[in-house]
């Protein structure tokens, strides 16, 4: 899911601001998105307590029941049931939980791997730099979905494999940002001062340079997170992600497709959930990016 960046990420810079200031300057859509993001995160977090049923508990007598308000609705199953009589609300909550967990893990791994490699390339330079940048070139050149397909096919459709695939996604963006910032910061007086006082390369990298790269990384993280949600859903949808009976929102859409003509809610519930997630995350990502990019102000 390559992004078309409107701006070069290395130029981003996030001014320090409290949450209250952010809220005050947000427009109404951004506020809705923020509230939506918080409620989705809470729903995912609290799924084991608020879900009315076990998401894998089958009840063959109440299969394919529609959501509330339709004919044949069965009391207690507010969003209907699927082909095995499992409660759609519970499955949706657990699916959301797993989707967000996987995306969060993947995004964190990508951030860690990319930043370390970027630091390495920028601080050490020389062969390390050339190697990392060659890898970045390759990663940019190949559409990531292809890499993901290959990896999943080779190592099996397993949840650990999926996390690694999601973790590899987008590392090159972080590496590029960090490397660019390091090259710029390396010549700054405070880094020179640290070097003059005899600080080691590792100390300069971690204590003096890394904190200064945080803002562009935060923006990139938000943008990457929504792409990872999409990637995870896509892979699960294709049947290459988690395996049944465990479900993420993507695999629920994928499996539910077979029942679409007669029981469209099996697809609609997870599809709407995915839309809500990507909507909230995308708006927050755009918001942070626009804030961080001075050139876009007033547009």
């Amino acid at each position: 899911m390559a992004d078309i960046p409107d701006t070069a990420p290395s130029r981003l810079r996030l001014p320090r601001l409290g949450l209250r200031d952010l809220w005050a300057e947000a427009d109404s859509i951004q506020r809705i998105a923020a509230l939506l993001a918080i409620s989705l995160a809470l729903a995912a977090l609290l799924a084991p307590w608020i879900a009315p049923y076990d998401p894998t508990a089958q009840s063959l007598l109440s299969r394919l029941r529609p959501p509330v308000g339709f004919e044949r609705f069965k009391d207690g199953f507010w969003l209907g049931t699927d082909e095995l009589g499992r409660d759609m609300l519970s499955r949706g909550l657990y699916g959301l939980r797993l989707t967000l967990t996987l995306a969060m893990l993947g995004a964190c791994i990508g951030l860690a791997v990319g930043s370390v490699l970027g630091l390495l390339a920028g601080v050490v330079g020389g062969i390390a730099d050339s190697l990392v940048m060659a890898l970045v070139d390759v990663q940019i050149a190949v559409p990531f979905t292809l890499i993901a397909l290959l990896v999943v096919a080779v190592f099996g459709a397993d949840i650990e494999v999926l996390i690694i695939v999601l973790g590899v996604y987008g590392w090159e963006q972080y590496a590029r940002i960090v490397r660019g910032e390091v090259l710029k910061l390396r010549e700054m007086p405070f880094v020179e001062a640290a070097r003059a006082t005899g600080a080691s390369q590792a100390r300069i990298a971690l204590v003096h340079i890394l904190p200064n790269v945080t803002s562009p990384l935060v923006v990139q993280f938000t943008l990457a997170f929504s792409n990872i949600v999409l990637l995870e859903s896509t892979l699960s949808f294709l049947g290459l992600g988690v395996q049944p009976p465990t479900a993420t929102l993507g695999s629920m859409v994928g499996i539910g497709r077979d029942y679409m003509p007669s029981a469209p809610w099996i697809v609609m519930v997870p599809a709407v959930a995915i839309l809500l997630v990507t909507f909230a995350v995308q708006i927050m990502g755009d918001w942070l990016r626009d804030r961080a990019d001075v050139r876009l102000r007033g547009r």
Binding site: P143, T145, L146, A153, V154, M260, A271, Q282, R299
Partner: protein, 308 residues
């Protein structure tokens, strides 16, 4: 300039070589690839014969050298399941994919460039916001959700459009739209930003001061200058986006193209097909990107001189 071209082409070959190598070793990492092919009751001799048949005997390094050698001669291996050359299997899938791709890129360009220009020119009014909201929707809706909803509405509910295959013009409508939505969103945003950069240039004021009609100012002086940037993005991003998107869209609509083949061979673990399929798509994307990059450098005098 010549030096730049040579360097760029050399880099392309290095990238391709790295990918060929990485793909080879990745498919060997899974242990014995034949485990999925060998039938339970097979004798040891049959197994050895089968291993040799697929070129899977010897150490990994021997296989690698043999693989590279065969590659140079245009032999890319045999499918585990269909037992015929993978190149043949992949070749059959190229034309349907290309048709869908061309339809989508054509649709994307004809929609997003006018929209982007409108969004830039009317950025202060509701028209601009409406266009950007639409673009945002295209960004936020995953293509498999969009495709599924399209099927639900236009095929199952309204019964207007066919779902499976690529027989008629009607078959093209839903896949093309599903594949284009994300690209349209991206390109509209990009066109708008490129236009905004151009609109604030001095020569735009000059053009207006000369008394040219606003239409001429926007289209001839504005869009023409923005178009180089826009087209370079089309080349650089669309190839990758389309490759990712068609995997999903072709699967949903059972479109007999490369994306469908890749997913199928990944699920059935037909490594030779998957390997060659991934390589062909990757090489195609890299080739397109290199050509666009070179064309871009050539088309922009500032870059041409800087890199000469």
């Amino acid at each position: 300039m010549l030096e730049f071209v040579a360097l760029r082409v050399a880099r392309m070959f290095v990238t391709i070589f790295v990918i060929v190598t990485a793909v080879f070793f990745a498919t060997r990492l899974s242990g014995d690839a034949l485990d999925f092919v060998v039938a339970p009751g097979m004798t040891e001799e049959d197994r050895i014969a089968l291993t040799a048949y697929y070129g899977l005997d010897g150490t990994t390094w021997q296989q690698y050298v043999r693989y590279l050698g065969a590659f140079m001669q245009g032999e890319f291996g045999l499918s585990f399941l269909e037992r015929r050359p993978v190149a043949e299997i992949v070749a059959e899938r190229i034309w349907p994919s290309l048709q869908l791709l061309l339809a989508s890129v054509g649709f994307t360009l004809s929609v997003s460039i006018p929209l982007g220009v409108i969004a830039a020119v009317y950025r202060q009014s509701w028209i601009g916001s409406a266009v950007m909201s639409l673009a945002f929707l295209g960004y936020a809706i995953p293509n498999f959700v969009l495709a599924t909803l399209l099927v639900l509405i236009f095929a199952y509910t309204l019964n207007w459009l066919p779902v499976v295959g690529n027989g008629t013009v009607w078959h093209f409508l839903m896949p093309t739209f599903a594949l284009s939505a994300y690209m349209i969103a991206g390109l509209t945003r990009f066109t708008r930003n490129a236009m905004l950069d151009v609109l604030s240039q001095d020569y735009m004021r000059t053009a207006r001061a000369k008394g040219l009609a606003e239409r001429v100012v926007i289209l001839k002086h504005g869009l023409r200058n923005a178009s180089i940037t826009v087209l370079s993005v089309v080349g650089l991003q669309i190839a990758g986006l389309a490759a990712s998107g068609s995997v999903v869209v072709e699967t949903i609509f059972s479109w007999p193209g490369l994306g469908d083949l890749l997913v199928e061979s990944a699920i059935r673990r037909d490594y030779p097909v998957l390997q060659f399929g991934v390589l062909s798509v990757a090489v195609a994307v890299i080739l397109i990107n290199t050509i666009v990059d070179l064309a871009y450098t050539w088309a922009d005098p500032r870059l041409r001189l800087a890199r000469a």
